[in-house]
Subunit: 193 residues, 6 copies
C-alpha cells in the first residue's frame, strides 16, 4: 500500500520574539504571523504577562490571578470547525506530547501531567487554555524557559539545558504527525453493531 | 466556590475473566457486563485472540494479522453521541494515561507512545482500536499481562511486577477524572473574537 | 441493575432578589451567581424590565415591545455545546414542566401552553426566550408572581397562592430529573435499520 | 410582516389498521405507508405486540417484558439528520402534546407525565421509545385505546369516550405546528455574548 | 406518490436599490428587508463599495483590495444552524446556478467558474464570500451589471443584454428548487454498510 | 504569502475495468481498490447494472427501475465524518464539475443540469446517488460512455469523441482542487455579527 503524506495541519516556528499578553489568542493570529492558510500551530519565544480581561480562564479571572513568566516558549494553535469539547481533548493530548518531548530530550527528568498542566518536582512548567471563536477552537500552551516572576513555584526549560527552539520544533513535529495519524485512524476501521 | 462531583462517565472493574475475541467491541457490552447506564468503561482480565472478520482495523485485516496474547488487561469504553474523530483523540489520551499509570507504578520503566500504541524497550505493550456503532464510539485497549503467543516482540505487566487489577483500577480512576475535568474545562472559558 | 445518580446539570435557587433586565441572559451568569461549574439552571425572584437592544427576540424588538412585570420568578439556564435547535426543543419541554408543576401545586387550575408561553384563562403567565452564545445555548423563563405593569392581560403565581420559592425549587428539581433521564434514554436503546 | 406557512414536517393519518410489532420502527416506514418525502409522522390504529429482539428498549429486553395492548393509537415519526439527544427531547415534548390534547378533549381528566410515559390515576396510558437509524431518529408513541392484555395496570382512550382518529389527527396537527414554530424560533433571536 | 411542495428556504427580490458596503452581510439582514422568517435569500440591485474592516475575506484585506462596481445584482443568503463548511459548498453550487442561468438567458455566452468566481472571456463577472455569524452562515454573491470602477478586467450583465431583475428572479427560483430537492434527496436513500 | 499544497482528498483512476452493480457503493471500496487512506475518489470504466435491493434510491426501487448502461465511466467517492446533507450539496457540485469538464473538452456541446443529473439535448448522460454508511458519506456518479441498454433516452461520451480516461482524470483533478479550495475558504474569513 503506497504511503502518501497528507498534512491535516501545518506548523511554523517564528523567528521573532513576541510577548504573549492574551490578545494573541484570537482567530487568524496563526495566519497573520506565519501565512498558514490551513489548521495550524505556531511556536515562538517571549515573555508572558496576562491579567484582567484577557484571562479567558474564569477560574483565574475570578481569583484575580496573573499569569507571568520572564521567558516562555509559546504555542498557539487554531483548528477550524472543531467543537470545543474535541479541542479540549486535543489540548490534553498536546500536553502529553510536550511531556514526552521533554522526557526524550532531558533523559531522567520526570514530568507529571495534571489535566493540561505539567509539573517537574511539583514545580509548574506550563500554562494552558483552550477556547473558541465563532469559526474555530484555539489553544495557547506556554512552557516556561525562565519562570522568573511566576506567582507559584515554577521551573523552566533552561533548568534542563533544553534549547527552546529545538524543543519547540520537536513538539510541532510530533503534534503534526499525531494529528495526521488521527485522520488516518478514523478512515481505517470497520463500523460495529 | 463549592466543589461538587459530576461524573461524566462511570467505570467498573469486572471480577470475571473474559476472553477478548473482538465480538466484545459492540454497543452495550459495557452495560450488559456492569449495569452502567451512562458513558462507561469496564476493565477485565483474560486471553486475547482476534482474527478474520473481527479485525475492525483494516490494516490488520489486509495483512491477515492475528492479535494474540495469553493474558491481557482489557478496557472497553463506550461514549454515546460522540463523533469518531473525537473518539480517536480521546483514545490517544487514554494511551497517555496508561503510560503515566505504568510509570507511576513501576518507577524507572520508560514507556514510549506511538499514536495509540505503547512500547517498552521497543517491545509492544498494548493493542488499541477505536470504532463507531450507529449510537456511539467504542474503543478497546488491551495491555499485555503475559504476551505469550503475540506475533511480534512484546512485553507485559507481569514483567514489571505490576498487578493487573490494581493497575486497571488506577487507569479507570485516572480516565474518569480526566473526562470529568474536560467537561469542566469547556464550561470555564470566555470565548474570543 | 444498580441505580446510580448522574447529574447532567446542576441547579440552584438564589437567595438574593435580582432584577431581570435582559443583560443577565449571557454566558456564565449561572456560574457567577451560583458557582455551578456544569450545565446549570438558577432561579431567583425579582422585577422584570426589558426593552430596546436587550430584547433578543426580534419579534418583540421590531414591534418595540417592552417586557415588564412587577415581580417574577426567573429561571436562567445554560447548556454548553448544545445546538440552538435542541435548545429550543428543550425550552418547550421546560414550559411543559412549569405547566405540570403549577397544576400539581394548584389543583384545578387549567394551564394552556402555546409554544413556550403559558396562559391561564387566556391571561399570560410567562415570558420565554432561547438564544445562543458562542459557547452555549441559554434560556430565560419568567413566571409572573405579580404581573402589575405587564402590557398584556396577565396573571401571576400570587393569584393561585403559590409560593415562588417552593414553586421554583419544584421546577428546578423536575427539570434536573428530566435532563438526567434523557441522558439515560439515549444510552438504553438498540439502533434500528 | 407577511405570514407564510413552512412545513418543517408532514403528517398523515392512515386509513388502514396495522398491527405494531416493533418491526415498523425502521427508516422509511413513514414514506412507504404515506408517500411523505420529508420529515414526517404517521398515525394509525391497531393492536400492539412487541417482544424478544424487537424490543429496542434494553430495560424492557433485559427484564423480558412484552408490550401488549389489544388496540392502540400508534404514532411513528422520522426526523432525518437529527441527533438522538435532540430526538429524545422532542419525544418528551410529544408526550406533553399528547397530554395536552387529551386534557382538551376530555375535560377534567388529569394526565400525569413521567418522562415519555403518561398515566391517568396511576394507570399507564402510553408506551414510547426513541431510537436511531444511520440516517435518522425515529420514535414510536403508542396510546392505548383498549389496553386489554397489557401486563400492567393500564387505561385507554375508550374509557374517556375519545375517538382515536379524531384524537390522532389533533395530536398530529399540534405536533406539526410545534415543530414549525421551533424552526421559526431559532431564526428570530439575536445571539448574546 | 403525491407531490407536495416544501420550501426549505424562501426568497424575495427587493424593489428598492441598496448600496452594498459589506455591512449588509450580517445576521437578520434578510429578515429585516423582506420579512422572511425562515432560511432565505434576497436579491437587489445597487452599487458596490467594500473596503477596510468590512472586507471579511482576509486575502482581500491583507492585500488592501477594494471591491468596487458601479452597479451590481446582489444576493444575500442566510442559512441558520448550518456549518461553515457546508455553507461554502453551497456557495460553489450557487455560483454554478448563476453560470447556468446566464447561459440559459444569453445563449452562446461561455461562462467559466473558478471556485466561487465566474468569468466571461477572462473578465470577472462576480464577487463572492461566505462567512458565519454565531447563529448562521451567510453569503454575498454579487453579479456585475455595469462593472465601471472595478479594479480588475470585468464584465457585467448589461453587456449581454440581460435584465438584472429577470435574471435575479430566475436565480432565486433555481436556488430555491435546488435547496428543496437536496432536502428531498437526503430522505430517499437507503443507508449502506 | 507562501503557497503550500494540502490535499483534502486523494484521487485515483483505476486501470482495471469493473462492472458497477451497486455493491461497490460501500465504505472502504475506495481504499480497497486504490490504497487511498484518506477521503478519496476513484474512477474506472465498466458496464453498469443495478436492480432490486441494490437500488439505494427509493424512488427507483419503488418504481422497480433498473439502471443499465453498456459502458460507463464511474466515480465512487468516500468522505469520512461528513453529514449526509453536506454530502448531497457536494454531489450537486460534482455534477456541475462534470458538466464543466465536458463543455471544456467538447466545445459547443450544451449540457443541462437538473439536480444531480446531466442531459444533452434532453438525453440522459448520467446517473447519481449519495448515501451514508455509519462512518462516511459515499456517492456514485456514472457517466455514460455507450448507453446501450439504458431504459430511457440516453447519450454517452463516445458520441462526443471524448476519451473516458482523459475525461475521468480531468474530473478527478477538478474535484480535488475544488475540495482543497473549499477548505482554504473556510479558514480565510472574518466572522460577522
Amino acid at each position: 500500500m503506497k504511503e502518501r503524506r497528507h498534512q491535516s495541519l501545518e506548523t511554523a516556528f517564528l523567528a521573532e520574539e513576541i510577548e504573549y499578553t492574551g490578545a494573541e489568542l484570537r482567530s487568524h493570529f496563526v495566519r497573520e504571523k506565519s501565512g498558514i492558510e490551513w489548521d495550524g500551530v505556531v511556536a515562538f519565544v517571549g515573555p508572558c504577562g496576562v491579567s484582567g480581561e484577557r484571562l479567558v480562564d474564569l477560574e483565574d479571572a475570578e481569583e484575580q490571578h496573573e499569569i507571568v513568566s520572564k521567558r516562555m516558549l509559546h504555542f498557539i494553535a487554531e483548528h477550524f470547525q472543531q467543537p470545543l469539547r474535541e479541542g479540549n481533548v486535543r489540548l490534553r493530548l498536546f500536553a502529553s506530547i510536550v511531556k514526552e518531548a521533554l522526557e526524550a530530550m532531558s533523559p531522567g527528568t520526570l514530568v507529571t501531567r495534571d489535566g493540561d498542566d505539567l509539573y517537574v518536582n511539583k514545580r509548574k512548567l506550563t500554562v494552558a487554555i483552550c477556547t473558541a471563536s465563532s469559526l474555530s477552537t484555539l489553544f495557547h500552551y506556554g512552557v516556561n524557559v525562565n519562570p522568573a516572576g511566576a506567582p507559584v513555584a515554577a521551573v523552566g526549560l533552561k533548568k534542563f539545558g533544553v534549547d527552546p527552539k529545538v524543543f519547540g520544533v520537536s513538539v510541532l513535529d510530533r503534534y503534526e504527525r499525531e494529528c495526521e495519524s488521527i485522520e488516518r485512524a478514523i478512515r481505517k476501521v470497520r463500523g460495529v453493531s
